[in-house]
């Protein structure tokens, strides 16, 4: 699996650091970090599907939305306890993930991206017109049960969730199965020629991605306590997820995490200067510059920086 002692030390250090952080940062910063944690979960989920297998999804909020709406409706309208509603939401999202898989069996590239975008738009329209008494229609839902109170508890929960997802995916990607998933993104025909079932591998990637998206979506809605379709199915939300993964570095686990934190804090610090949608212009420009300079993302910049330091230290 190629696991080395320093991998455990780095993950251990990151986990310890993140759990000690509430001792030294303000509640405001913690709230920003909660959003960064959820964005990291969504970016990891997107990367499992799109970064690894090369099937670029423009409809990830479709999966997140299924998870969020399912648990919100079950808890708010039918008084189902969250311990039951969240697993149901995750299962429903995985079933939705299989729906997204269907077009991927025949098409890829820009056509696949457009089909996934249509999935997102379809759900956006459906939740507004079909049974608005359940979904809340265009206004969405509020008063949804929250799982935690206070910034620090919300932070601990989101951090535990994000790190659990990240470490699990990191371990999974270190296996031969993870290697095969990445191989699909590079040359699907060769994967088949090596005797692997690309359909099964894609199904696994789509289900895993949907599992994470559903889990993240469900916990996110129970953190917010409300659900607004316009915000959830907003094109800016979609691009924030994609850019976080690309900016941080696709086909890695740490990359989408770094990208998510960078994006969230960048947008937050730009808020006083550029309160409107102009902020997205700035992050777009940064993403463009970084992508031109280092297509492998921030994680590669960090990696080469560490290598240079080590070489300098040796010299």
């Amino acid at each position: 699996m190629g696991l080395r002692w320093f991998h455990y030390v780095l993950w251990g250090g990151l986990i310890a650091g993140m759990f000690l952080l509430p001792q030294v940062v303000s509640n405001g910063t913690m709230r920003t970090m909660i959003f960064a944690n959820y964005l990291a979960i969504f970016a990891i989920s997107w990367d499992v599907l799109s970064g690894r297998t090369g099937y670029v999804s423009f409809g990830h909020p479709f999966l997140i939305g299924i998870g969020a709406y399912t648990t919100a409706i079950l808890t708010k309208r039918f008084d189902v306890p969250v311990e039951i509603s969240i697993p149901i939401a995750v299962v429903c999202t995985m079933i939705a993930g299989l729906l997204v898989l269907l077009p991927a069996l025949r098409i890829r590239g820009s056509y696949f991206a457009l089909v996934t975008l249509a999935f997102m738009e379809l759900l956006y329209q459906l939740v507004q017109v079909i049974r608005p008494d359940l979904t809340g229609g265009t206004r969405g839902m509020s008063g949804i049960q929250t799982l935690t109170r206070g910034a620090s508890n919300g932070y601990y929960l989101s951090t535990a969730l994000m790190l659990s997802v990240a470490v699990s995916m990191w371990l999974l990607m270190k296996t031969r199965l993870g290697t095969a998933l990445a191989a699909i993104g590079m040359n699907e025909e060769s994967v088949r020629g090596s005797g692997l079932s690309s359909t099964r591998l894609k199904a696994f990637a789509f289900l895993t991605s949907a599992f994470i998206a559903g889990l993240g979506g469900a916990f996110y809605v129970h953190y917010l306590g409300s659900l607004a379709p316009r915000a959830l199915f907003d094109i800016n939300f979609l691009f924030t997820i994609i850019v976080a993964a690309l900016l941080g570095g696709t086909s890695t686990i740490v990359g989408p995490m770094i990208g998510a934190f960078f994006m969230t804090f960048l947008l937050e610090y730009l808020r006083p200067v550029l309160p409107g949608a102009e902020r997205y212009f700035v992050y777009g420009a940064i993403a463009l510059l970084l992508y031109m300079y280092q297509p492998k993302g921030l994680v590669e910049l960090v990696r080469t920086g560490v290598l240079r330091l080590r070489k300098g230290g040796v010299a």
């Binding site: 031969r176 290697t179 025909e189 020629g193 090596s194």
Partner: protein, 235 residues
Amino acid sequence: MSFLEIDNLSAFYGKAQALTDISITVQPGEIVAVVGPNGAGKSTLLDSIMGLVKTEGDIRLRGHSLVGRSSSEIVRSGVGYAPERFNLFPYMSVRDNLMVGAFTAREDIQSNLDIVHKLFPRLKEREGQETSTQSGGERQMVSFGRALMTSPELLLIDEPTIGLAPKICLEIAEVIRQLNSEYGLTVVITEQNANFALSLASRIYVLESGRMQTSGTEAELRNDKRLLDAYFGGH
């Protein structure tokens, strides 16, 4: 019974027909070459054996039909495929490229890896290197290695010398001979380099525009001036 029998094979990409009525037999332990110019259908022939394209006709391995079986079943039945070196996973390490091939032969991973490292010591030295940064010859070794990780009895090799220096071609020919004589593999190679094919194979099939033009032993084809002029550049 032949080891591999292909009867009246036609292959299609959508509505376009790429192969027409191809028949080939390969005996156990034999090296057979399929030669022809670009677009002759050589790669399509190997893809057809691997179940990667839509076909008509029959393909039998040890008497059992491969038609309608998935690529993974075909690999599990003992067919290894070394595609052109351009068909590697470029941003993966040498080791990870080999491991993709190891999926179907999980119980033999270490012994197969030992064989690959014995044949290609350079791959062991550079197992952490991305294949996109390797030379053409090294990538060809990775392609061979990945196919060998599937524990094949029949090895299909697609254009092993394309774009490689003559010295590397000789090394590759030596490895193919070694795989055949030492490890008992039956080998089918496709080639544009007719001299390479003649030096290696016991029998040669000549393809052009998706149709079989002729076939024969190395000796027969070397003496056929018309064929040499048409396909082998008058050697």
